[in-house]
């Protein structure tokens, strides 16, 4: 609700009972202390173009019973444990997400239904007196794809756990680095995803606001965000403001083109909303949030990128990251790295690996981009330390120069 001053929201999970009484309750609930009334902003009306539409995406959830999924997990877990006597514990997880949302405003009635599946293999592994944990995953909107992909990842998982059990700490310093798609996605997410959430523009909390049209990355970089930009965990049809999903190109040939916004931010900035208004759940406010965030593939072969490095690291698997949209510091934590020596990817593992630096320095140092691409749809993203939503990110491998520690 808006009265030309502040925006007002009331959320509840109970709309039963007398509707007139509920309306009175809502109006009373969003009153403010008198001392705050002079402080209210002035707002323009938000867009509410007429639209009635239903959306759904094919899924295969009804083809598998819970018994079948449990049997699958149990068989795979037993097979995984049988791979090595060093496995202390193993877990196989099939997580299904089914979203059904109805959006009703004065002029719009929209509904959507879509699904997502995340599958994980996890092991706790002990060797040479050292314990490590390791994971592999697969994700898709179809169960059949995930169930088909996981068995092929068991050997890789056990080998990785074996190598991590002898991983050493990295010697801190600046290195030539190649990122795997997961870390590429983390970099996109932390470096320029949060930085172009346009509610941060309203608050003057994002340096990117002043850099639209300016070069912010190497000229070979192209970056997107959008629920309609690819098919992954954040690929909805309309956002929590009832705005249809879009594909937003954030960086084009190294130039910062535009940001991503929710309805309120777009209204305050006088821009078109991009379908990025998302809530953690019905009890929370909508903010400008990322969806699927990724770099476009380039033209280089991964093997050529590795061969071009005399001494450096290839780093793998997102652990966590932290944004700094105002000051463009970035921290990305990778689960592990492998040393590159004289153009060869060695089995010298290091773990964990913390990549940090100044965003423009990091992005301008990108000198090669691989021609493959992978989007990982198993992420969760907070805004600051709260407001968790599910996101994907990824892209190709990047070659860059950055500080590791």
């Amino acid at each position: 609700m808006s009265d030309g001053k502040a925006f007002f929201e009331y959320s509840t999970d109970d709309v039963s009972g007398d509707k007139a009484a509920l309306v009175q309750k809502i109006l009373a609930s969003v009153q403010t202390d008198d001392s705050l009334k002079p402080l209210m902003v002035s707002t323009a009306p938000v867009a509410d173009e007429p639209l009635v539409q239903s959306f759904s995406r094919e899924n295969d959830f009804d083809k598998y019973s819970e018994q079948q999924l449990l049997d699958y997990c149990t068989r795979l877990k037993d097979a995984l444990v049988g791979r090595s006597e060093n496995i202390l514990n193993a877990a196989v997880i099939i997580g299904t997400l089914e979203v059904s949302k109805l959006f009703v405003s004065a002029n719009r009635i929209l509904d959507q239904n879509y699904t997502w599946v995340n599958g994980f293999l996890l092991v706790n592994y002990s060797e040479n007196g050292r314990m490590v944990s390791a994971r592999e995953g697969a994700n898709s909107h179809m169960l059949v794809n995930v169930l088909g992909a996981l068995p092929d990842k068991m050997d890789k998982l056990v080998h990785k756990a074996h190598m991590l059990a002898s991983a050493k700490p990295i010697v801190p310093g600046e290195y030539d680095v190649i990122t795997d798609p997961s870390i590429t996605g983390l970099l996109a997410h932390e470096a320029f995803g949060h930085g172009v959430e346009m509610d941060m523009f309203v608050k003057d909390r994002a340096l990117a606001k002043n850099c639209i049209g300016a070069p912010v990355a190497s000229s070979i970089c192209n970056m997107h965000d959008g629920a309609a930009a690819t098919l992954s965990v954040a690929s909805y049809f309309f956002d929590d403001d009832g705005v249809l999903a879009k594909d937003t190109q954030i960086i084009q040939d190294g130039i910062l083109m535009r940001g991503i916004s929710d309805l309120v931010s777009a209204s305050e900035l006088g821009t078109e909303p991009t379908g990025n208004g998302r809530r953690q759940d019905h009890t929370r406010k909508a903010y400008s949030r990322m969806t699927n965030t990724f770099f476009e593939p380039g033209k280089d072969k991964l093997e050529d990128m590795i061969a071009s490095i005399q001494h450096g690291y290839m780093i793998f698997e997102t652990n966590n990251g932290m944004e700094d949209p105002k000051n463009w510091q970035v921290q990305c934590v990778a689960e592990y790295g492998r040393e590159i020596v004289d153009g060869v990817l060695t089995d010298n593992y290091v773990s964990p690996v913390v990549m940090s630096g100044y965003v423009p320095d990091v992005l301008r140092s990108i000198s090669m981009i691989s021609d493959n691409s992978e989007i990982e749809g198993s992420g969760h993203c907070g805004k600051g330390h709260k407001e968790w939503v599910r996101v994907s990110d990824g892209g190709p491998s990047l070659k860059l120069k950055v500080r590791l520690g």
């Binding site: 999970d13 039963s16 969003v30 608050k203 003057d204 009890t283 913390v354």
Partner: protein, 421 residues
């Protein structure tokens, strides 16, 4: 009909976890009120436990106020079928305890709208500098009632009132603008303390504007502040959860030395059910188990563990419940003594990384104060890393204590052996 009457024919045991939350929220941008929100939710999570083939299975579903008896019955039938697919080792539920309590707080009888306005005013009273201000502020005034009922005679209710404040101190210079990100969740309203805290953070953000990247590598101890201290000890304590021990994923066992060769203070950590002023204080956990205080580390040695009623049974340990507060014993050195020698005081990190598996502590430093023995200067653009075990051996804890979130303990901790780069 009551939920328990509907579900009891579908299970051997049941638990109903009810959560009623009311939140009044204000969102300010540049000192102007942009959004006013009120959120009310009433969700009951029903867990059915079904015994079969010498094992126990469980499955849960949510019940909302608008659901009919037929809706609930349909959910219960489905949950029963799912629980019959689960083959967990048998366990019992906590039993025979009825209670109703409110966590003590001066917020308990206050009007939520007035509390929100008072917080906004307290923050704005700190906002008096010409060069720095709070450019975004979010205020959440929350009342939460949880009730746990189970089929074994548990019926426990707890009321809690908290406030959360997210403030963004910002400083604008001629060449750049910088900010910090501060969040506080509080169990007591102390407007004077909040104003002082925000004023101090405005001083810090001014320092971030002036901070420089050191021209030469720093080689000195690092000093952690309460937020990072809480992260450090929470990570250590998490390893002593019974569930981790049962899953063979814990590293620390009773009798292990957390500090193998301490050169500083010996560390003592206790899980506490309640700490005065902590928003994480609680009388019982999600199972309705009574929370008990448990010593986890004493003088650098692991002496205990904690966990849920179920995993306590699996490990044949005393049930402790899952407390969320930790207390760390204070050290012998005053803060002023500790800070006399050269050090790097960490004010604002991207996020402290603590990894027991890899014996690692580190992170990117966005603002710190470097004291060379004579002068204290703000620095930025650096990172740190080191061996966790070696750092813990050198830990020196301040005599002065504070409460931050679920943490009560030394306000400063000094660690040696950390690389700064």
């Amino acid at each position: 009909m009551k939920i328990c009457e509907i579900i009891k024919s579908y299970c051997d045991d049941y638990k109903i976890f009810g959560s009623q939350t009311s939140s009044y929220e204000l969102f300010f941008v540049h000192g102007k009120l942009e959004t006013v929100r009120k959120s009310e939710s009433d969700i009951r999570t029903v867990t059915l436990y079904c015994d079969h083939d010498g094992k126990r299975g469980n499955s849960a579903f949510n019940v909302y106020a608008s659901m009919s008896e037929a809706d609930i019955e349909r959910k219960a039938r489905s949950a029963h079928d799912k629980a019959m697919l689960i083959f967990d080792e048998p366990y019992s539920l906590p039993s025979d305890r009825k209670s109703e309590a409110t966590i003590p707080s001066n917020l308990n009888d206050m009007d939520e709208k007035k509390v929100a306005a008072r917080i906004a005013r307290a923050v704005s009273e700190a906002n008096t500098r010409n060069d720095c201000d709070i450019n975004a502020l979010e205020v959440f005034v929350t009342s939460k009632t949880v009730r746990v009922v189970n089929s074994q005679g548990i019926d426990r209710t707890q009321n809690k009132h908290t406030v959360s404040v997210e403030a963004i101190p910002t400083c604008n210079g001629s060449e750049q603008s910088v900010e910090l990100f501060e969040t506080y969740t509080l169990a007591e309203l102390d407007e004077h303390a909040l104003t002082e805290e925000i004023a101090a953070r405005l001083g810090d953000v001014k320092a971030r504007l002036e901070a420089v990247k050191p021209q030469t590598a720093l080689n000195c101890p690092v000093v952690l502040n309460p937020e990072e201290i809480c992260t450090l000890f929470s990570e250590l304590i998490a390893d002593r959860d019974y569930a981790r021990e049962y899953g063979h994923s814990n590293l620390l066992n009773v009798g292990d030395m957390l500090q193998t060769d301490p050169t500083g203070d010996r560390i003592t950590i206790t899980m506490r059910a309640r700490i005065n002023g902590s928003p994480l204080s609680s009388y019982f956990d999600e199972d309705g188990s009574e929370l008990t205080d448990v010593r986890i580390v004493e003088d650098g040695k692991v002496v205990g563990g904690y966990g849920s009623f179920r995993f306590a049974q699996y490990l044949d340990k005393a049930p402790t419940g899952k407390s969320q507060c930790i207390e760390v014993d204070a050290g012998a050195t005053s803060e002023s003594e500790l800070l006399k020698e050269p050090h790097l005081e960490l004010v604002y990190l991207s996020g402290l990384q603590v990894d027991l598996y890899n014996d690692y502590i580190g992170g990117e430093i966005r603002l710190a104060y470097y004291f060379d023995g004579n002068v204290r200067i703000p620095v930025t653009g650096i990172a740190m890393s080191g061996k966790l075990s070696e750092a813990l051996n050198t830990a020196r804890l301040s005599k002065e204590t504070c409460v931050r979130g679920g943490y009560f303990g030394p306000r400063k901790i000094m660690l040696n052996g950390i690389n700064i780069y």
